[in-house]
Structure formats: C-alpha cells, structure tokens
Amino acid sequence: MNRSRNFDKYFTLFTKRFKGVGWLDALGVAIFFFILFSGVFFLLRRGSEVIVTMRLLERNSPDFYFNLPRHFYVENLRPGMKETDEAGRNALEILEVFSYPTGEIYQEAYITLRVKTVFNKKTGQHSFNGKPLLNGDYYTFRLKDIVINGIIIDISDKPLVREKKAFQVEGYLDPTDHEVLTTNQEIILYKDYGVTGIKNYLAEKIVPGLKMYDGKGEVIAEVISASKLPGRRSMAQNNQYFTVSDSERVEVKLTFELTAEKINDSFYFQKLTPLLIGRKFNFVSGYLSIKPTITSVKSLD
C-alpha cells in the first residue's frame, strides 16, 4: 500500500516535471539518444582490417575457363588503388595483383585486397558494406570505376603466404596437345597411324634454359634438359605392323625445375595443377607455349 503510494508520488512528480516540455525539448533528447544508439550500433562496433585474396573471374559465376578475366581487364587493376569511406578512411585498397601467364587472352589472376571490415563477434564473420566475407564465396567489390569479381580464397589479417618447394619434373610433349585437329584427324593420326612427336617447328624452339615467370617476375619453371628423338608413325598393313621415322616430327622429353605451392598438403603448380604423374601443365616462355605431360616428379629439397 505504502509502496504504491510512493510510486504514485514519484509518477506525479515525473509527469509534472515533463508537463512544460515542448516538442523541441523532446526532439533534442530523441536526437541525442538516436545518435548515441546509432553510434553504439555502427561506430562502436569492432572495426578491423583484413587481407582478402581472391581468384579473379569475369563474372560472379562458376570458374569455367571462359569466365577467367582477360588481359585488358587485369591491366586496369593496379596495386595502390584505394577507395575511402565517407569519413575519408581507407575502406578498400589493392595490395597486389598476381597472375600466371597462360598463353591465352584469359588470365589466371589473383588479387590481394586490404579491406576495412566490421567484425561480428557472435558469428565470427567480417563484413564489408553489410555483406559477409566468406571463404569460397563469389564476391564483388566495387573500387572506383572498376568491378572486381572473383572467388575468395583467403581471409586473414596478413597476406596469404604459402610454403613453396622446388621439384624436378620430367615429362613429354603429347602431339594431341600441340596441334589443332578435328576429331577425325585425331583418330586417323593417333589411332590409325600411331603418330608420336610434335611438329619440328615447335620442337626446335624448345631448348634448355627456357624460363617461365610469374606476375612478380620470379622464375617458376625452367627447362633443365630437352632430349629429342625423331618422331615415329606406326601402322598395320597387309597384316604386318610397321614403325617408320617421321621426318616432320620430333619426340621431345623434357626435364623441368618447377616451384610449386603447398595447398592442403599437396603441391600445386600455378595454384591449380597438382604435381601428379599423368597430369599436364602449362609452360609459357617468351613466344612459346607448350603443355607437357608429367612422367616423373622428384622433390629437390
């Protein structure tokens, strides 16, 4: 009873106090608390900076070969390009653009970005412009007049550095990978005639010392030795099987020294090609582009 009377007393006092309060006063208090709560929600959230590494794609759709970015697009992305937020802080900055030559207009390119994010402690997610940054997600950044599409491969507080290792890799050049043929031609050449070796004009350009460089100018592959034997054609005629030399072709066996990166306990050349016997990799040097098939892999360390 007494408590209820006290409550009434204070309530009357409270209402009396605010009787003369006008709309401007109410607005002032509302503005103060609105800014305070907005500040708590937006400005006092834990902001952080993360380094995001992305494999670039032309569109935000699966990374089919034809969805890789092209030269004329990649050249627009330059380290140091940055975007600031409303307060002038660096919100997004390109730290590095890294690519491997593919011998095609399509580029195997990676971008490293410094991104000012908001970190949500509960979900453990960083978000940029309200959208969470997730490994493996297709993501789009907009930096000034450029759109950056790709798949996120790493989010961390420092640039992604992977263990690198040198390998001696032996391989040969399969003629089917070095000529543009129709399916019928392929059947005639390789099944009916059992052709081995690549065309002479290509073989004579392959010499020890050829080097392949990555986007940073570091050597990632070098031809150590190249053994060349005359090409052959094998065929069956009059119930007899013949093998004859093909003066227009040369069988090329190569030994490379490659630098591969460790991804998930396996080593990959150019981040994409596993160093496995039977697999093929791209080797581009100067005006030459070949695709050796791996026959042996040996660690050099």
């Binding site: 003369g20 607005l27 608390f33 800014i35 305070l36 002038g88």
Partner: protein, 507 residues
C-alpha cells in the same frame, strides 16, 4: 571549549557556504554535474563514460525540463571528457617521416566519437530548429553575424578540401558548435528575467570552477607521480616526449591534465581563468561574500599554479602581458587585488612555501633552456623553417579558401614531402598562419571584421573598466598563445563568455 567553538564556527561557515550556493545557483544541476565529473573521472572504461554521460544528460533534462538548458550546462563537462572511440587516419606514411618521434608510425590525424561529439550534433540540430521555430527571426550581435559568415566559409573550405574532406568537416562542425553553444546561451537569456539569468551564470561559473578543481587535482597528481595516472579519461597513455630539442631538459616534467599536450592544457587554463574572472565580476555582488572570495582566490591560484607547471612559455607571456595591461590601465585595482590575494593566502604559508620551492627548481631550468632556442638544434630554427613552408603553402592556389580545417599536415606533405615535415610532421606553430593556410585569406579577413565589431562592443560596454580590460586582456592572451602555438583560438571560452555577457548587461 576552544575546540568546540572552532568546530561550531567551521560548521557555521560550512553551512553558510552551502546555503549561499543553494540560494544563488541551480544547486541540483550543480550537484548532479559535480557527481558526473567525479564519477566519470574514475570511469573504468570508455563505454561507462558513454553510459554515465547519457544518464547525466537525461537527469539534467529532468531537472531543467529544457533541452537548451541541458545543452548549455552539459557542454563543457562533456567537452572535458572527450574520450570514446578513436578514428585515426594516416596522413603521412611511415616512409615519409624521418623523425624518431614518429618512427614506424607515420603521422596520423583523428577524431574521437565521444559523448561530446553526440552533444555537438544534437546542439547543431536543435539550434537549427530554434531558428525555424522563431520563423527565421534571427537577432544576434553584429560580431556573431561575421563569425557565422566565417564558419560558412570554413564549411566550404572543408567540403572542397582535396585531403580528408570528411574529417575536415567534422573538425569544422566541432569548432562551430562552440559558437552554437553561445547562441543557445543567448536564446536562453532572451526569455529570462535578471534574477534567473544571474542564477544561470552563477551555475555556469560554479560548473567551470568544479572542472578547474577536478583537472587541477589530476595535474597535481600527475606531477607527484611524474607520469599520467592511467585514468580512462586521460587523453594520452603517456606524457608526450619532450627534450628532443636543445631547449628542454630531460629532467623536467610537463603535466598534461586531461588534455593531449601541456601547451594545450595551458591554453585551456588561460581561457578558463579569464572566463571565470569575467563571470565572477558579473555576479560577485549577488552571491555571499565568503563564497565570492573563495571562488576567485581558488580559481586564480589554481590556474596560476597549473599554468606554471605546464612550463608553457607562451602562457607565461600571455599572463605577463595581461598583468602589464592592467598595470598600465587599471593599476589601482591590480594593486588592490594583489594585496587582497596575499592577505587571503597568508593562512596557507606552508603549501605556498612548498610551491615556491618546487618552482625554484623547475623554472630556472626552463628559462636557462630557453636560451638554447637560438642554437642549431633549438626551436627557433625549426620554427623559421616551418614559417617558410607555411608561407609557401599559403601562397599556393588554395590561398583564397584554404586546404580545409585540420588539413595542414597532409597538405604540406603533399606540397613538399621532402621538407621540414619529414622531421617535424606537426602543424605550423603559429595559429594565425595555420588559420590562413587551412581556412584561406577570405575567412581570415572576415574573422578580423568580427573581432573589430566585438572590440567595439566591449569598448561600449556599460561595465567597469576592469571587466572591459579582462575581456580585451583575455583576447590578447588567446592571440599570444596562438602566435607561438599550433592553436586556432577563434572561439575560446573567454570570448564566448564575453559574447554572453555583452548581451546580458541588464543583470
């Protein structure tokens, strides 16, 4: 028997003192503000500072029932605790700096999202609505109109800044809010009778006095500890590094109080002591005599001791010139005041002796060290080099509008990255040149016009010569600080109080 008598006398003194405060001020507001100041000083985190500030704001609103009164009273207490979330922006990369003071860091600028920042935004919006409510009938003194024009130019300069325009805008808003505070004060006084005006001014004086006591206590403890105290409301985590030049002794200690730098602390104290004196002169006859004496003696002594402790030569010069002004134009009153001060303080012989002993150790060193200002590694050489660069920047294509408030360092780095900024990435140590470089020659000219009208109003002011001299002496002190320090004292507290008093002459 004797002891009982003394106790009775002290109790009566104490009661009269408290009763005096209760009669002449809004004592509930005062009590709440003092509680806020004390509790916030020991706040364990910045988040708690936000909570306490919000609570203080709400309770103050409950007590006053008016948003403009709430803003008016809480403005300076909030300003004192400008802590919260820091936003830092690098303006000179670490490669661009060759000074060991900034080694590995580069030079940054920043702003703090604090309760004060929220109050600034609120006061701006509210004042806008006050103008709308009054149907744009805008009655302010002429000098204020010129100040407002200056700020329009400052805003344009910030918006067009090629550097961190957003940050420059925040700096401008922050500074502009001080003018708004004065205008809010004027709009409060417009509707009130003399008695109420008097009460509000007394409350403001007692709030400023409370702030002075609080910060002075922090300063004394810092001096005793020879380090910052580790309070969350201290703006620096360690005392700034001095003694890089030849003129500073490595053994001397310069406290920072709740500011970023001892010179900034001195600048604030110079403004605060003039503001307190002005308010005191205005209300001294309406408050009990013992309270009036206590207020003025404590304020003067504390301010003087703290300013001396900061070892700020510019502040020493500012005070010295003020004394010279009074000696020349109001000698009788000056002598009377000194006599009164010495008779009042004769009961405190021991603490005064201790203070004298302390200063006899530190001041000669500071004076002796100042002679090295003219040496090869002294401050004069750096200042002259800074001066040349600043003049070149002022003469750059942005001389009309400036590079934007607070943007001197990034602009100079952009202008001459290999210059003095590599070794001393700081603002030019001359507030006038800083004003010209950041805000342009047009704004400077209009500011001078505003000051001309302000001085005219002061000269015509129907009050004693002492009050008018205090107003002018305060301004001169602000400008002396500005002459040697990187401060732009366009709207110091004493100027704002001057503006308030000029419009409230009928008290």
């Amino acid at each position: 028997m004797m002891k009982a008598k003394i106790r009775d006398y002290s109790n009566n003194m104490y009661k009269r003192f408290i009763r005096g405060i209760m009669l002449v001020s809004e004592y509930k507001v005062l009590l709440l503000t003092y509680l806020y100041l004390i509790i916030t000083l020991f706040s364990p985190s910045h988040k708690i500072v936000f909570i306490l500030s919000a609570l203080y704001f709400l309770l103050l609103f409950f007590l006053t029932g008016s948003i403009i009164n709430t803003i008016f009273y809480s403005f300076y207490p909030f300003w004192l605790f400008r802590v919260g979330r820091d936003f830092v922006f690098e303006v000179v990369p670490k490669e661009g700096v060759a000074s060991p003071l900034y080694w590995g860091e580069g030079r940054s600028l920043g702003f703090v999202f604090s309760p004060f920042f929220i109050l600034v935004a609120t006061s701006l919006v509210i004042y806008f609505f006050i103008i709308l409510k009054d149907r744009l009938r805008f009655s302010v003194p002429v000098f204020v109109i010129f100040f407002l024009i200056t700020y329009v130019l400052h805003f344009l300069s910030a918006i067009n800044s090629p550097y961190l325009g957003g940050l420059s805008l925040i700096y401008t808003i922050h500074e502009f809010s001080f003018l708004i505070w004065m205008l809010i004060g004027l709009s409060i006084f417009k509707k009130l009778q003399s008695f109420k005006k008097n009460k509000i001014l007394t409350t403001l004086l007692l709030i400023l006095f409370g702030m002075l006591i609080l910060e002075s206590s922090v300063v004394f403890l810092q001096v005793a500890k020879r380090s910052v105290l580790g309070l969350k409301v201290e703006k620096v985590a360690s005392i700034p590094y001095f003694r890089a030049g030849a003129e500073e002794s490595g053994l001397s200690f310069r406290p920072v109080g709740l500011s970023y730098h001892p010179n900034e602390l001195a600048n604030w104290y110079v403004a605060a002591v003039f503001a307190i004196f002005l308010l005191w002169y205005k209300i001294k006859d309406t408050i009990p005599k013992n309270l009036a004496h206590f207020l003025i003696v404590s304020s003067a002594t504390l301010s003087l001791v703290v300013i001396l402790l900061t070892l700020s030569r510019s502040a020493y010069l500012a005070l010295f010139i003020t004394i010279v002004i009074f000696w020349l134009f109001d000698r009788a009153n000056l002598i009377k005041s000194v006599k009164f001060l010495s008779s009042y303080l004769k009961n405190f012989k021991v603490p005064i002796l201790l203070i004298f002993i302390y200063f006899s150790f530190i001041l000669p060193g500071r004076i002796y060290g100042s002679l090295y200002s003219f040496s090869e590694t002294g401050g004069l050489k750096t200042r002259l080099e800074q001066l040349k660069e600043a003049l070149n920047l002022i003469r750059s294509p942005s001389f009309l509008t400036g590079v934007g408030e607070g943007m001197y360092i990034p602009a100079l780095y952009d202008f001459n990255p290999q210059g003095n900024i590599r070794f001393f990435p700081e603002d030019i140590h001359n507030g006038f040149l800083l004003f010209l470089a950041e805000r342009g020659i047009v704004a400077f000219f209009i500011y001078l016009v505003a000051i001309y009208f302000l001085l005219r109003s002061i000269i015509k002011y129907e009050q004693s010569k002492t009050v008018r001299l205090l107003m002018i002496g305060g301004l001169i002190s602000n400008y002396i600080m500005m002459l040697f320090q990187p401060f732009i004292n366009t709207l110091p507290l004493n100027l704002l109080i001057t503006g308030l008093l000029l419009k409230t002459k009928k008290i």
